[in-house]
């Protein structure tokens, strides 16, 4: 199968899956217990690792910014630039990259294993729509929780950045925050939020899609997981560019 037909098949498959989920949101009675379980697994359990990654990213960026800007007596710009970078890239993109592995891989693996061990057939035999039982709670949990995870990650990145900058150049928190008020507007927060929501939906839908496509035993599930993570990483960067171009 050529790359083009493969890409078209993927896009079509994910769009159809997304459409089925959207219909279920308005027509099916959601199970609160299934949703809550996924909110904990996908959201709450992802906060530590995502926050840690964005903390490190925030520190590294502050390191570079503080070093350059302090030489130009412009330390007051460090906080603002860091917050801008956090909102535009570090929070949505780095969180999404972490989550494509942290939540995307297990989703593909779980659904793929269910497929090859006939558990998906067992769901159908029990008159249960597998999109209702598996896809819908995961997509909703992702879309609800990933922005919340991003908030924690953002705070982590911000304070890690401040501590790094303070230790490096000694500037105060007042100096750090003063630039932020001038350089960052509500539209930057909106852009960050939109990216988080879009990335959340894409990560979970792609992960589910590859899970349902898995075949050929354990090796097939492994291939599906790898494919899902790689495609997610690619999509995150493509969508990041598109959303930034549209909203900026």
């Amino acid at each position: 199968m050529t790359i083009v037909t493969g890409a078209l098949e993927f896009i079509g498959g994910v769009v159809i899956l997304g459409w089925r989920v959207l219909k279920l949101v308005f027509t099916a009675r959601l199970s609160a217990s299934l949703l809550l379980e996924q909110m904990v697994l996908l959201g709450v359990n992802s906060i530590p690792i995502t926050t840690l990654v964005v903390c490190f990213a925030g520190s590294v960026y502050t390191f570079v910014l503080a070093d350059e800007l302090s030489q130009r007596n412009a330390e007051n710009l460090v906080g603002g630039l860091l917050l801008l970078i956090l909102l535009k890239e570090l929070i949505p993109v780095f969180s999404a990259l972490v989550l494509s592995a942290k939540i995307g891989a297990p989703i593909t693996s779980e659904i793929g294993t269910m497929k090859i061990s006939e558990q998906l057939d067992a769901l159908r035999a029990l008159s249960t729509d597998h999109d209702w039982y598996l896809t819908l709670p995961r997509v909703l949990a992702g879309v609800i929780m990933i922005p919340l995870v991003a908030v924690f990650a953002g705070y982590g990145g911000w304070f890690a950045g401040y501590i790094t900058g303070h230790l490096q150049t000694g500037f105060s928190y007042h100096t750090f925050i003063s630039g932020a008020k001038n350089m960052v507007g509500i539209d930057d927060f909106v852009e960050c939020f939109v990216k988080c929501i879009v990335f959340a939906g894409v990560i979970v839908l792609t992960a589910c899609y590859y899970g349902y496509k898995a075949e050929g035993g354990a090796a097939g599930v492994g291939k599906a997981v790898t494919r899902g993570v790689v495609i997610n990483i690619l999509l995150i960067f493509i969508l990041d560019l598109l959303i930034t171009a549209v909203l900026d």
């Binding site: 294993t113 061990s117 006939e118 558990q119 057939d121 035999a125 029990l126 008159s127 249960t128």
Partner: protein, 254 residues
């Protein structure tokens, strides 16, 4: 009653069933036997609506289910249950959650009430004490019984069994076979058992159908497996008939 009328079905370009025509009487145990790859499991997949026939008709209690949509099948499957060959238990759920799946998630009954019913059923099937275990902690025979409980809890009219005794030791084979017979006798469930385990089928089936190279041969009663003069039946049961003859010869010499 279940009827297959000139059913052709397969996977992609590969045709498995070629004009299968037979009936499964209501409230009886029908065994579908045949060599590996002959199309036995395809019969079950057609009955559950997992695949569609390319030609022919399938009737379930007089209702033509050929070409039904997935939504329609969800309704039809409410009167059917299936015990898969490898049990297909949900491995992230406990045994009790597996058994109570249908009443809790499909019928939306409160968990407390469902759990009570599930525990009673598990006890009936000799699985008391396993409710909080995961499927990976159970033996093959126990998993088959849990899979049976998962179907029985919503009292289906039709139960499908895919190779229920494959991989089980003789004692567990006897236990599972007895359960199948009991379900049909006690609850009047129409049971369709796909198997190549002739000795266990002989003891429990009321009616036998042979699938050979995609075509069906209605054998009738189990004893006709030994007396039929149809070449296909003779070919399939040859080694079993030899075994029986050699056992009876040994018995005569003893």
């Amino acid at each position: 009653m279940i009827k297959f009328e000139d059913v052709w079905a397969g996977y992609g370009d590969h045709l498995v069933l070629r004009g299968a025509t037979f009936q499964c009487p209501a409230q009886r145990v029908t065994a579908i036997v045949g060599p590996s790859g002959s199309g036995k499991s395809t019969v079950l997949r057609l009955l559950m609506g997992f695949i569609c026939p390319s030609k022919g008709r399938i009737l379930v209690d007089g209702e033509d289910v050929t070409g039904c949509s997935e939504r329609q099948w969800q309704g039809i499957r409410r009167k059917m249950g299936m015990v898969f060959q490898n049990s297909a238990l949900f491995d992230s759920l406990t045994i009790c959650q597996n058994v109570g799946f249908y009443p809790h998630y499909v019928e939306r009954r409160p968990w407390r009430e469902v759990r009570r019913e599930a525990l009673e059923l598990l006890e009936d099937l000799g699985l008391a004490g396993t409710e909080d275990k995961l499927p990976s902690e159970l033996s093959g025979g126990m998993k088959r019984r849990v899979a049976l409980a998962r179907s029985l809890i919503y009292k289906p009219q039709i139960l499908l069994y895919d190779e229920p005794t494959t991989g089980l030791d003789p004692h567990m084979t006897e236990v599972v076979s007895s359960l199948i017979e009991e379900m049909a006798d006690r609850f009047g469930i129409t049971s369709i058992v796909v198997s190549h385990d002739l000795p266990s089928i002989y003891g429990i089936a009321d009616h036998v159908v042979l699938i050979d190279e995609g075509q069906s041969v209605v054998v009738g009663q189990p004893r006709q497996l030994l007396t039929s003069e149809d070449e296909r039946v003779i070919r399939f049961t040859a080694s079993w008939r030899e075994q029986i003859h050699s056992f009876s010869d040994r018995g005569n010499h003893d």
